[in-house]
């Protein structure tokens, strides 16, 4: 909503409060002023000129040499506008003038001819092209004939004005009108506001005799008022009206249409004017549309209607979409002599739906869909009749043609002053509250310790006690509310164990060298299921904005890989990223997808670079596996987790392990398949994904201390010759289970696959630690345990001691 402060002064005296200060007061008490716009844009030296003579420039077809009376002198100005003509009163920027954008006007010579200034279009005075009346859209603007040469043109055009741009929230539709804003300002600055005076002489002819009205759907249209004005002369509106409309962001058309728009802005009540003769039938019938019925609206669009759309008809065909836009077939035009002014109350939900269906939002629909003031419907029609009579010379027929079942009663809200104060944590005296209600123009009665309030119908947002709390507080001032903290039981704050563990996981991965990433949950249908830990139906959007963001992800890896590609393309020599986030699988009983939190990582490029000491390493499988092992150890799950060679779609078939927790699959770690790497312009890249929820909710025995060993341990190293395909992890497992109670630890310390081995064989060396917590081990005990291990290795692992 654009509020011209000059226009606003018609209804309220703001007592010289500077517009910027007024804006701040309005913002602080309820309606955000988004911008304070100075329409003069610092312009100077712009005056009225009288074009006395216009001759074609001898050297240029498109230029004209004009002799212009600018009050103090007659001066020559070269003008390029096609519509400049002798006799016109025009806008002249004199030499020394500054126009918007800092353009300075100087005396100049144009193709040999002197030019002392510029004849201006409205666009050159910073009026948006779409607001300039069509007749002047392509040229200079022509001022009224009675304008005085040399007079201040900015004053005449109303450009010495400050406009407040209000950012209205949906509840404050009352401020979508100048009168509404005047009420609001009046309450804020404690000043009375005044309504426009409406009086005119109506003709003896009775409106009801020339127009019949029938409303078929009283729910969608509980009130319809029509006024008939005869003998109008369609023409340009007076300048004051045009400039107010432009200040409000509305393009002037002709006097009748401009009046309807003016009253819309003034009262907040949308109006529509029909050409009575083009209606043809002398009848208005409001009904729902027939299926397939069509109408061409004022914007020259043909629109197909549906049975839930309300239309205005002439009894036969649709002439307007109710509350949204008029039809071209009944539009007021140059030759119109009799107009029908429509002022109606259309149900907000109905208009909202219709406007949405046609993707057509107008100044009218945006007001109807939030609810207009029932008590202004008829008043606005009268105001329009008065102005049309005044400005288009018409005769207003006697009375209105009207259907009215609209409830115009005020909403009663009963609230106790204590409730208001308790809710605010304040002690506002009753007198202060009633004074605020008076300023707001709310009717009230204070009795029995209660306030009986009748909220005016323009304030449809006032429904419950809490609404009154807000009204009192915002006018009293939110700065006056003290600062306290909730009293009552103290509560224990904190993270749930799950949340705490998730933080531990993140912190661990960061300490281990990975940066946290956050990627999008929405992905393409194609990527949604790649790398998913389990196969489940996908969740798709009904109306995606793009194919790329159409489906919810089932794995975090695809977008992490995108991030890796992005970074590598920007010459990052190392990418180490992880993410924790939800994946979306199948459907729960509630009908929602099953959301499961996962953790995933991607690593590629340099890992360790301490080059001057010759230590360099790029990321490999064991770097990432080590990080995963560290993670499960941090969570106390190391003894429950196993890694098994496996094949996973999209990963290198020989360099991938699935990860199992207590035998159950929880994730994988591996190298991206070389073809996938190539597709993404990546070199050797490693990924892992784990079901985070399963890891952190695994039930563990409480941590209990084991005594630090008091007796020495004994270490035995063995080197084994096995087949090359034999998994070292399996050998380790054999050793563990054969070693018995005394075997404390088994570590792999060497792997050899070189020339010294027989083809197809390798050597794996283990270091075994034996220990007895109770006493010093004897040699015989160790020998006994160790030989069991060797026997098991030979029998189960086909492993020979290397000679």
């Amino acid at each position: 909503m654009l509020v011209s402060t000059k226009w606003l002064a018609d209804y309220i005296d703001t007592k010289g409060i500077a517009p910027a200060d007024l804006a701040e007061m309005i913002t602080r008490s309820g309606i955000e002023v988004d911008a304070v716009i100075d329409r003069s844009h610092g312009m100077t030296n712009v005056v009225v000129g009288h074009v006395l003579e216009r001759v074609k420039h001898p050297e240029a077809d498109k230029l004209a040499i004009c002799q212009v009376d600018v009050g103090e002198e007659v001066t020559q100005i070269i003008c390029g506008a096609p519509n400049v003509a002798a006799g016109q009163k025009v806008i002249v920027a004199r030499p020394g003038a500054v126009l918007p954008g800092g353009i300075k006007i100087k005396k100049a010579k144009l193709r040999g001819e002197e030019s002392n200034g510029m004849i201006c279009s409205l666009q050159e005075l910073a009026i948006e092209g779409k607001l300039v009346p069509k007749a002047y859209a392509e040229g200079i603007y022509v001022l009224p004939e009675d304008s005085q040469p040399g007079a201040d043109a900015l004053e005449l055009l109303g450009l010495n004005d400050i406009v407040l741009e209000l950012g209205l929230t949906p509840n404050r539709s009352d401020a979508m009108s100048m009168l509404g804003v005047a009420y609001e300002v009046g309450a804020i600055i404690s000043e009375e506001m005044k309504y426009p005076e409406v009086n005119y002489v109506s003709s003896s002819e009775v409106a009801e005799n020339v127009l019949k009205l029938r409303v078929e759907d009283m729910d969608a249209n509980p009130m319809y008022v029509a006024k008939v004005v005869k003998n109008v002369v369609i023409g340009e509106s007076p300048l004051w009206l045009q400039q107010r409309l432009m200040a409000a962001g509305v393009r002037p058309h002709n006097n009748v249409v401009d009046v309807t728009n003016y009253v819309l802005m003034e009262y907040g009540q949308p109006l529509h004017a029909f050409d009575y003769d083009r209606l043809q039938t002398g009848e208005i019938v409001v009904r729902t549309a027939h299926a397939g019925e069509k109408i061409t609206t004022l914007d020259d669009q043909e629109r197909e209607l549906q049975p839930h759309h309300l239309v205005i008809t002439n009894g036969q065909e649709a002439v307007a979409i109710a509350g949204v836009m008029g039809g071209a077939n009944s539009e007021v035009h140059e030759g119109t002599t009799t107009v029908v002014i429509e002022s109606a109350y259309f149900n907000s939900a109905s208009v909202r739906q219709t406007s949405k269906d046609h993707n057509l939002r107008s100044d009218a629909s945006s007001r109807f869909e939030k609810g207009v003031d029932p008590n202004r419907v008829e008043a606005a029609a009268e105001r329009a009749a008065q102005l049309i009579a005044e400005l288009a010379g018409g005769e207003v027929l006697h009375g209105s043609v009207k259907v009215d079942e609209l409830d115009k009663s005020q909403k009663e809200v009963v609230v106790s002053p204590d409730f208001i104060n308790n809710r605010l944590g304040m002690k506002i005296p009753l007198e202060e509250m009633t004074s605020i209600l008076t300023r707001l123009k709310f009717d009230y009665e204070a009795a029995n310790g209660l306030l009986y309030i009748n909220a005016p119908t323009r304030r449809q947002d006032i429904q419950i006690e809490e609404d009154i709390v807000e009204e009192i507080a915002r006018i009293y001032g939110y700065d006056e509310i003290p600062m306290t903290l909730p009293v009552g039981e103290t509560t224990q704050g904190g993270l749930t164990p799950y949340q705490a563990q998730r933080r531990i996981v993140r912190n661990y991965l960061e300490s281990a060298g990975l940066h946290q990433a956050i990627t999008y949950s929405l992905t393409s249908k194609e990527l949604a299921q790649s790398f998913a830990l389990e196969s489940a139906p996908v969740t798709e959007l009904l109306m995606p904005m793009s194919e790329e963001r159409s489906t919810l992800r089932q794995s975090l890896i695809p977008h992490l890989l995108e991030a890796a590609t992005y970074n590598v393309a920007r010459k990052a020599d190392s990418v180490t990223l992880f993410e924790t986030g939800s994946v979306f699988l199948g459907e729960t009983a509630e009908g929602l997808p099953h959301e499961e939190e996962h953790v995933a990582a991607v690593m590629t490029g340099k890992w360790l670079d301490h080059s001057w000491q010759g230590e360099r390493k790029t990321v490999d499988f064991f770097v990432l596996k080590g990080i995963v092992e560290g993670l499960v150890a941090k969570l106390g799950l190391d003894q429950f987790v196993t890694f098994e060679q496996a094949q996973v779609d999209g990963l290198h078939p020989g360099r991938t392990a699935v990860i199992k927790l207590a035998g159950k699959f929880v994730g994988f770690v591996g190298q991206l398949h070389p073809t996938e790497q190539k597709k993404r312009d990546l070199k050797e890249t490693y990924v892992m994904e784990l079901n985070l929820a399963k890891l952190v909710t695994f039930s563990l025995e409480p941590l209990v201390y084991t005594p630090v060993p008091r007796f020495p341990s004994i270490t035995r190293d063995i080197a084994l010759v096995v087949e090359r395909g034999q998994a070292a992890g399996a050998l380790q497992q054999i050793i563990r289970s054969a070693g018995g109670k005394l075997l404390k630890d088994v570590r792999i310390f060497d792997l050899y696959e070189g020339d010294k081995m027989e083809p197809g064989q390798k050597s794996v060396a283990f270091s075994l630690t034996y220990e007895d917590p109770e006493r010093t081990l004897t040699d015989e005990e160790v020998v006994k345990a160790h030989s069991k291990v060797l026997k098991a290795l030979e029998e189960q692992g086909n492993a020979q001691l290397r000679g």
């Binding site: 602080r28 309820g30 955000e32 949906p170 509840n171 404050r172 907000s348 739906q353 809710r423 605010l424 944590g425 304040m426 419950i464 809490e466 709390v469 807000e470 507080a473 939110y478 509310i481 003290p482 600062m483 306290t484 903290l485 909730p486 009552g488 039981e489 103290t490 509560t491 224990q492 704050g493 993270l495 949340q499 933080r503 960061e510 300490s511 281990a512 060298g513 940066h515 946290q516 956050i518 949950s521 929405l522 969740t539 959007l541 009904l542 109306m543 904005m545 963001r549 919810l552 991030a563 970074n567 920007r570 990418v575 990223l577 939800s582 009908g591 959301e595 360790l608 301490h610 001057w612």
Partner: protein, 345 residues
């Protein structure tokens, strides 16, 4: 014999003085004082002396022995010192060479902001509540006083999965779910999480972003409690000298509704480019929980009241760290993320 002894002593002392390394000195010690050395030999030979001379000779030998030892020990200290100096000189390194790097990563800036806010409220007795990112229309809208067809639904264009299921447009459904689950009991929670809106991604819009909301419900919770709580938040998050102001606003789930501004942390309120010359920066929306929201979740709005607030970690991170484009948070450029490495307490 005495002369022999004196000569030996002199010899030994000369040798000691000539020794230039610890090793040489040890050799001298072994040579003269060792079990097979001449002084020990002399002592062994005393048996051949007449009994009355033995004590005198014994004492003399011991004196010589002590004298030699003392000289030797003195020399030893000196030579050891020399040796150490030598060793240190040899071991000297260029300490300006870089150390072996320990690779570490860090929180995403949004997580950094979210955890900071979580911890701040945890210390005030709040718990962290979470909920699904794909929600029912009921929890996302209806339970929050946004029935179907409500004009305020336009404020949030949504990604629907079906007619009744959508990607949540705010974290408020977590509040609705928590209230429903608590069955009329007091609540004090913070709800962080990802949310989604039908916006084209540009410098100030992202179809996915994060929110963090707070909800307190109890007996006689007042608007002054909201103001006091938000003031503590603003000071802890943006500096002790921050002031706050509330401006009326509108949210369907609160009444009264406010927006909170903080005094500009860059210019202190005098006006700069961060606060767009106003001295104030809009940080969050808040209000008193609408009675319809309480009643719908089974709370008696006559007995209990509450406040709620919500903010965008992206906006806070953008303000705090001067980030100009929201898309940086979702591009995961290592050059961006790694800038949030250092701690700030």
């Amino acid at each position: 014999m005495e002369a022999q002894l004196q000569q030996l002593k002199q010899e030994a002392i000369d040798q000691v003085q000539n020794a230039s390394t610890v090793k040489e000195l040890q050799d001298v010690r072994v040579a003269y004082l060792g079990k097979k050395g001449p002084i020990t030999d002399l002592l062994k030979g005393m048996g051949k002396l007449p009994a009355e001379e033995r004590p005198k000779m014994g004492a003399l030998v011991n004196v010589v022995r002590e004298e030699v030892t003392a000289v030797l020990d003195e020399r030893l200290v000196l030579l050891e010192e020399v040796a150490i100096q030598q060793q240190l000189a040899n071991e000297s390194i260029d300490v300006t060479l870089p150390g072996r790097p320990v690779k570490t990563g860090n929180h995403h800036p949004l997580t950094r902001v979210i955890e900071e806010i979580e911890d701040l409220f945890i210390n005030m007795g709040y718990q962290i509540a979470e909920g699904p990112e794909v929600e029912k229309d009921y929890y996302n809208f209806e339970a929050l006083n946004l029935p179907k067809g409500h004009p305020a639904r336009d404020m949030q264009d949504s990604f629907y999965i079906s007619e009744d299921i959508l990607l949540r447009t705010h974290t408020s459904p977590v509040q609705a779910r928590t209230m429903e689950a608590k069955g009329g009991e007091p609540i004090k929670i913070i709800c962080p999480g990802k949310v989604y809106r039908r916006d084209s991604d540009d410098a100030t819009h992202s179809h996915q972003f994060t929110q963090i909301e707070g909800l307190v419900i109890g007996e006689n919770i007042r608007m002054s409690d909201l103001k006091g709580t938000l003031s503590i938040f603003a000071k802890k998050m943006f500096g002790d000298d921050r002031e706050i102001r509330l401006r009326p606003s509108f949210f369907p789930f609160t009444e009264p509704s406010v927006e909170m501004d903080i005094s500009c942390f860059k210019c202190g309120g005098s006006g700069c480019n961060v606060c767009k010359k106003t001295g104030w920066i809009e940080i969050l929306g808040a209000g008193m929980v609408h009675p319809n929201v309480l009643e719908m979740a089974g709370y008696d709005s006559k007995k209990l009241s509450g406040f709620a607030f919500g903010m965008g970690p992206e906006r806070i991170a953008m303000l705090k760290y001067g980030v100009e484009d929201i898309r940086h948070f979702y591009t995961n450029d290592v050059r961006f993320v790694s800038q949030f490495h250092r701690t700030e307490v």
